[in-house]
């Protein structure tokens, strides 16, 4: 069975005064029906831009999707005209954003905002749409949904707003849900509530999920597969077990070593990744991680390593085999 979503060699560049930012620079991945894929990386690595590109939500200019294919359910989204695109957005592919306050319209009631999609995409009449909206709010755990449907966004707390966003996203029963840092702005106990709601709905409805986050714990708890991004490229991808248990890229290894772990008794020193994330306008010529890498060899300085298979179902973009330890010759 072909994958639900196939992204092939996607490139999204931003043309700024300072130069060209290759925010997404040739990434490819698949999402299968019903699975949860996590795109992980630090700020500026291109994870959000790559997700926004899937629905062509990039501001043009300065941005532009330079090349690539986004095959969803047989259609290339990048080739659709505006009408066709509108039928996909919020319908077959839905999105949940990081900041629920800025992505909800402050002057419309919650009910109005949920029913809008239902009336538009599913052609429900007012009454049926309202009934469905109440049902959706109950599904995501908003208490007294019947009354709250006529409330405005500011009357909801942060966690409740994010539940409303999820209800809106699930309104048309999408095949794919893209969640961009859905719980970053929330407290841990509320984060746990919201993520559980999302996971439950995706299980119940068989919705595939792309979750974008920098939180390695959230990924470990909810993702089936993981793609790690650095400087616009996917540098490692595999199942969650493989990426955490057997990381093959020095950056992934560095990230995992640098976070303190709740379940481990304290005492050991953390091993940070030295240096700073790269300046996206002036990336080094070879591997973007070269300046910070402890495994680097001379080849890394010149040539960008391709994403290649390193074990079954496990891909990494590195010239060095990190399982063999640090090379004796350091390419300084």
């Amino acid at each position: 069975m072909p994958a639900l979503l196939q992204v092939k060699d996607l490139k999204t560049y931003f043309y700024l005064e300072e130069g060209v930012v290759k925010a997404v620079d040739g990434i490819s991945y698949d999402v299968q029906e019903g699975e949860t894929l996590a795109l992980v990386g630090e700020s500026g690595c291109g994870k959000s831009v790559s997700a926004l590109s899937l629905l062509r939500l990039i501001p043009i200019p300065p941005g532009r999707i330079v090349t690539g294919e986004v095959l969803f359910d047989g259609d290339d989204i990048l080739k659709l005209n505006d009408d066709e695109l509108r039928k996909v957005r919020g319908n077959r592919i839905a999105m949940v954003f990081q900041e629920p306050m800025t992505s909800l319209n402050p002057v419309l009631t919650i009910g109005k905002q949920i029913t809008e999609a239902l009336e538009l995409h599913l052609r429900l009449d007012r009454g049926a749409a309202t009934a469905r909206a109440i049902q959706l709010l109950e599904m995501v755990g908003v208490a007294e949904a019947e009354r709250r449907i006529s409330d405005y966004p500011h009357q909801f707390s942060g966690g409740m707003r994010q539940r409303v966003m999820i209800a809106m996203a699930m309104a048309c029963n999408p095949r794919l849900l893209i969640a961009d840092e859905p719980t970053t702005a929330l407290d841990v106990t509320i984060q746990a509530q919201v993520l559980e709601v999302m996971a439950r709905l995706s299980r119940e409805f068989g919705t595939a999920v792309i979750i974008i986050t920098h939180n390695l714990g959230v990924v470990a708890r909810y993702a089936d597969r993981v793609a790690v991004m650095y400087a616009g490229k996917i540098i490692e991808s595999s199942t969650a077990e493989n990426v955490y248990g057997d990381p093959r890229h020095p950056y992934t290894l560095g990230l995992l070593n640098s976070v303190p772990k709740l379940h481990q008794a304290a005492g050991e020193k953390l091993m940070p990744i030295e240096g700073s994330p790269p300046d996206m306008v002036r990336l080094p010529p070879g591997c973007s991680f070269y300046p910070r890498c402890t495994f680097r060899i001379d080849q890394c300085k010149e040539e960008y390593p391709p994403l290649q298979i390193v074990a079954e179902n496990h891909y990494a973009a590195c010239w060095v085999d990190v399982t063999k330890g640090r090379p004796s010759k350091n390419g300084n």
């Binding site: 700020s43 708890r221 077990e241 008794a265 940070p272």
Partner: protein, 339 residues
């Protein structure tokens, strides 16, 4: 780093001998004002409501809780940025609330703060030299050339090249800015630093750099930290002891490993269970306690135990009576009727 030779008189409070900072029955209520032209107090926001704990000399005390629980207010109150509504804060036995003017300023030299947001906490129109040197000017330490010298030394201590002293904050990355914030806090050789979410605005790979730096500085200069954070994994790593706060009240306090391995309070248990661990194999086996409901407003805190509205094991007593803050086991404090 020379520490001042202050021989404070013990004011008869029952402080543990090694306590550097002693917080006793601290209450901080903020008035809520309303009205046009003539505003009057319509309510009270009980940000901190009767908390007692101490910070031992040389330790890192982690203070955790969710937003709005009063953890930052507590940190700021210790530095006398807020005046307590009630209760006392002792620093080496001196009641800070009794100090005014020059006495207070002299004491403030020994207590500094590192802020959360390295973008908002540095004045964009001041050079790094002026930012780090400002506390020296305020406290009138050294002449101009000595200050320059000291700024260069501080920059080296926190891992910045003194060559960049005349640059401005926007020329530095988030991690470097936080190093500048640390250098500024160290400038006057304090004994005690309140670190208010010092790494939560930073990228994961940079957080570890700053955590390691704080640990090294503590060792080098014998610093005492109050480390305020919401990230429980970071707190476990850096703290010697941990205090858990909820809606202005202390819930539990114990040694770091004790509180993580043997949490007594239902809120601590839920909080720990809510944090996902970066290990998919372990995650699958973990029991999850998902709290229902949300944190109530501190304008209308629940009666009795403030946690009872979300507590999975609350009984009638919890709805009526505020649980006592008591030592359930040596060094392990908890406020819960069910423990």
């Amino acid at each position: 780093m020379a520490t001042e030779t202050v021989a404070p008189a013990r004011n008869g409070q029952s402080a543990e001998s090694e306590a550097l900072v002693d917080v006793r029955n601290l209450k901080i209520y903020f008035p809520v004002m309303a009205g046009f032209l003539i505003s009057r107090k319509i309510a009270e926001n009980k940000a901190v409501d009767d908390i007692t704990f101490s910070v031992k000399r040389g330790e890192t005390l982690g203070l955790v809780g969710e937003s709005g629980c009063g953890k930052s207010t507590t940190g700021r109150a210790i530095l006398q940025l807020y005046r307590p509504t009630d209760g006392h804060i002792y620093f080496e036995g001196t009641d800070l609330g009794s100090l005014r003017g020059n006495d207070l300023r002299r004491m403030r030299r020994r207590m500094q703060m590192i802020f959360q947001d390295p973008y908002a906490s540095l004045n964009p129109r001041m050079s790094i030299r002026d930012i780090i040197g400002e506390p020296l000017t305020i406290h009138n330490l050294g002449n101009k050339s000595e200050r320059r010298e000291r700024v260069a030394e501080l920059m080296r201590i926190v891992g910045l090249n003194p060559y960049y002293a005349s640059r401005f904050p926007h020329e530095f990355s988030g991690g470097q800015r936080q190093r500048i914030g640390v250098a500024r806090a160290l400038a006057v050789s304090p004994d005690f630093i309140v670190c208010d979410e010092p790494v939560s605005a930073l990228d994961v790979s940079i957080q570890a750099q700053i955590i390691n730096l704080l640990e090294e500085l503590q060792e080098q200069f014998g610093l005492t930290y109050l480390f305020i954070a919401h990230d429980l994994a970071v707190v476990r790593h850096i703290s010697d002891r941990v205090v858990v706060m909820y809606l202005g009240h202390l819930m539990e306090m114990a040694d770091r490993n004790e509180i993580y391995d043997n949490p007594l309070h239902p809120y601590t248990k839920a909080l720990l269970s809510a944090v996902p661990i970066p290990d998919p194999v372990l995650e699958r086996k973990r029991e999850r306690i998902i709290l229902t409901g949300e944190v109530p407003s501190s304008l209308r805190p629940p009666r009795g135990c403030v946690f009872h509205t979300r507590c999975p094991i609350a009984i009638d007593e919890c709805r009526q009576v505020v649980p006592e803050w008591r030592e359930a086991a040596p060094g392990h404090w908890v406020a819960c009727h069910r423990v």
